[in-house]
């Protein structure tokens, strides 16, 4: 028994790593084209439902489908709204296998895990495919983990304690409902429990009604299981898991209630319908399982109108998820390259604003009121920057005139500078924080650096936002070379009255170097703005 729990625990760990891996590797992929393709596949609810049904039938696990989609959603490759029908219909897909016990997918996923794992270990495949291979490896891990959890409790009916339990609850339909619910938490497959229920009824250990209630219990079990497995998720990715939990829980409870209504009133409902459909006991139970999954889909359809809104309230996007999405870009904008470039400019200004946000976390007068960490802002700028880069590349691939092409190039240059500034400001904030965390230091100098950098970034924002030659000229004057000044200040600091230890000196040198680098980058931003305005001016003339 201890070994089985260990197997279950190991499976759980692999499952979590699989889920996390899919998310992080798809994040690295950042492919706008792939996202468009996935969105196309799921553009219509019927089409999305068909995909969901197919995925559910193939994978035999609606939980796995929900968590794979969670990875796609958190990687920005699909929206929650598009993923919901897929998750809902995957539940129905799992019922197929109770009717047609067929192929062994375990073997297929072992190949996925093995081949992708070896490809990763030996660096096989082009660099651009590595995130996909890594994501496939994570999918393999997820299934392998689920399979381990399943196999840990597969020989359940052979255990003496299970036989005692069955004898103990003999005759009670409510107890079998609870048993189905609890078993679903251990055995990560509703269809596997359905098969166990059918076998127990077939062996005369359970009545048909008890077996049906055990299956209904798995609905609530799926809800609880998904709720627990998603406990490490936050924001948007958790929304899908909550959706899956709610529709399955509602389905299990609805059928349980219908069972009692049927018993008390004698009106034929689910059990009655199954009896009318077939006289075969096992097939009747297979229908009971089908009803359970169909009710989950019905619950999803009823819930669909206000699902997204409700899920947003229940698990609102985290700061990072919210900030990591482009605010102005949209695929539709590509139809008009000039307007699309205007949106890119707005997006870039927004990113520049996040650099001030990073500094706000360490500046004396704003640190206490800063709500988003510098780390989150840094990652958000990098994520949106990657989106803008692909967007610009797509624009460059369109047939555009010479002026527009020049503007694309100027915006690409500006984006590269914003990316470098993002890394520099982030390193500045980190070094600043380390200096502050160390032995007490006369903070005036480092505070001055932070305030100066903030002022310079604000001036760059003014120049980029207004395009006013006066503002650009001001930025260029403010960012003139100050190598001699910084060197003098460094020397003064070392010769000053305050004794500094090695780490403090090293951090101070690094901080001033980062400041100088940021000033140089801001100057380049001013130069890039001049060329951007020149290309816009030529546009206007032509």
């Amino acid at each position: 028994m201890t070994e089985l729990f260990a197997l279950f625990l190991a499976g759980l760990a692999l499952f979590f790593h699989g889920v996390g891996g899919i998310r992080s590797h798809l994040n690295g992929l950042g492919s706008r084209r792939l996202r468009k393709q996935l969105s196309r596949w799921a553009r219509h609810p019927v089409l999305a439902g068909a995909w969901g049904f197919l995925f559910g039938a193939i994978t035999q696990s609606s939980t796995a489908v929900a968590f794979i989609l969670t990875g796609l959603v958190s990687g920005g490759l699909m929206t929650t709204a598009r993923a919901l029908p897929i998750v809902a219909w995957a539940n129905l897909g799992t019922a197929v296998l109770v009717f047609f016990v067929s192929f062994n997918l375990h073997l297929a996923f072992l190949y996925v895990l093995g081949v992708s794992g070896l490809a990763l270990a030996f660096n096989v495949g082009a660099a651009r495919f590595r995130p996909v291979i890594a994501a496939l490896f994570s999918v393999g891990l997820l299934f392998f983990g689920l399979q381990m959890m399943k196999s840990a409790f597969a020989p359940l009916s052979g255990f003496a304690w299970f036989g005692d339990l069955v004898a103990f609850i003999h005759g009670s339909v409510l107890a079998t409902f609870v048993l189905g619910m609890l078993l679903r938490l251990l055995v990560q497959s509703s269809s596997a429990i359905a098969v166990i229920a059918i076998a127990l009824a077939h062996g005369g250990l359970f009545s048909g009604e008890q077996a049906a209630m055990m299956m209904y219990g798995t609905g609530v079990g799926v809800g609880l299981s998904v709720f627990l497995l998603s406990s490490n998720l936050r924001g948007v990715p958790r929304q899908l898991a909550l959706y899956q939990a709610v529709i399955n829980g509602a389905s299990g409870l609805t059928l349980c209630a219908l069972f009692y209504v049927e018993k008390l009133t004698g009106v034929p409902l689910a059990i009655g319908l199954a009896e009318r459909l077939t006289s075969d006991d096992s097939l009747r139970l297979a229908f009971a399982f089908l009803f359970l999954q169909s009710t989950a889909v019905c619950a999803a359809l009823l819930f669909s109108r206000f699902a997204v809104q409700w899920l947003e309230k229940l698990s609102p996007p985290t700061d990072e998820q919210d900030l990591s999405r482009p605010r102005f870009l949209s695929d539709e904008a590509l139809a008009d390259p000039e307007s699309a470039l205007d949106l890119v400019e707005k997006e870039q200004l927004h990113l520049l604003g996040h650099l001030n946000g990073q500094l706000a976390t360490v500046r004396e007068e704003t640190a206490s009121s800063a709500t988003v960490s510098a780390e989150v802002l840094h990652r958000a700028v990098a994520a949106v920057g990657a989106e803008v880069e692909v967007f610009l590349r797509e624009l460059a691939g369109l047939e555009v005139d010479h002026q527009t092409s020049r503007r694309v190039l100027a915006l690409e240059r500006r984006l590269a500078l914003i990316g470098s500034l993002n890394d520099t400001v982030h390193a500045f904030v980190e070094t600043f924080t380390r200096l502050r965390a160390g032995p007490p230091l006369d903070g005036t100098f480092v505070d001055n650096l932070a305030e100066s950098l903030n002022t310079l970034i604000l001036s760059a924002l003014d120049a980029a936002g207004s395009g006013d030659p006066g503002d650009i000229d001001l930025l260029l004057r403010m960012t003139a070379d100050r190598g001699d000044l910084m060197e003098r200040l460094r020397r003064n600091l070392l010769a000053g009255p305050q004794p500094l230890d090695h780490h403090q000196k090293s951090h101070l040198f690094y901080l001033t170097s980062l400041f100088e680098r940021a000033v140089w980058l801001l100057r380049q931003l001013g130069v890039a703005q001049q060329s951007l305005d020149a290309s816009s001016a030529t546009d206007t003339k032509s």
């Binding site: 005036t444 505070d447 001055n448 305030e451 100066s452 310079l456 003139a480 100050r482």
Partner: protein, 107 residues
């Protein structure tokens, strides 16, 4: 931050005292901007210990406005630490900064 106003020839001098931080920059804005009508305005920094980026923003806006209206804005009497600060931020190339304000206004 405390701000008092005095006259020196055809110059209006604002004598600043304290820190030009968030609150100080608001006070400075209220006192300074009504004076930016194209005349000559001087800011005495003798009692200023520290300026944050909010303060710099107000000063930059004032300089821009004064330039547009053809007036003059001079800053002076800065402590070495504050003067260093202006240099680090690259603002010494933007503002006219006088080590001795009265002498500069008399010249």
């Amino acid at each position: 931050m405390n701000i008092t106003t005095s006259a020196h020839g055809d110059w209006t001098v604002l004598n600043l005292d304290g820190k030009i931080d968030n609150a100080g920059s608001e006070a400075l804005k209220s006192a300074l901007f009504p004076l930016l009508t194209g005349g000559n305005v001087a800011l005495d920094f003798a009692r200023i210990e520290y300026v944050t980026s909010s303060g710099f923003r107000v000063l930059l806006q004032a300089e821009k406005e004064q330039r547009a209206k053809g007036g003059r804005l001079v800053l002076g009497n800065m402590m070495p630490s504050v003067s260093n600060f202006f240099e680090i931020a690259g603002l010494h190339t933007v503002f006219k900064i006088a080590p001795d304000l009265r002498a500069a206004l008399d010249a």
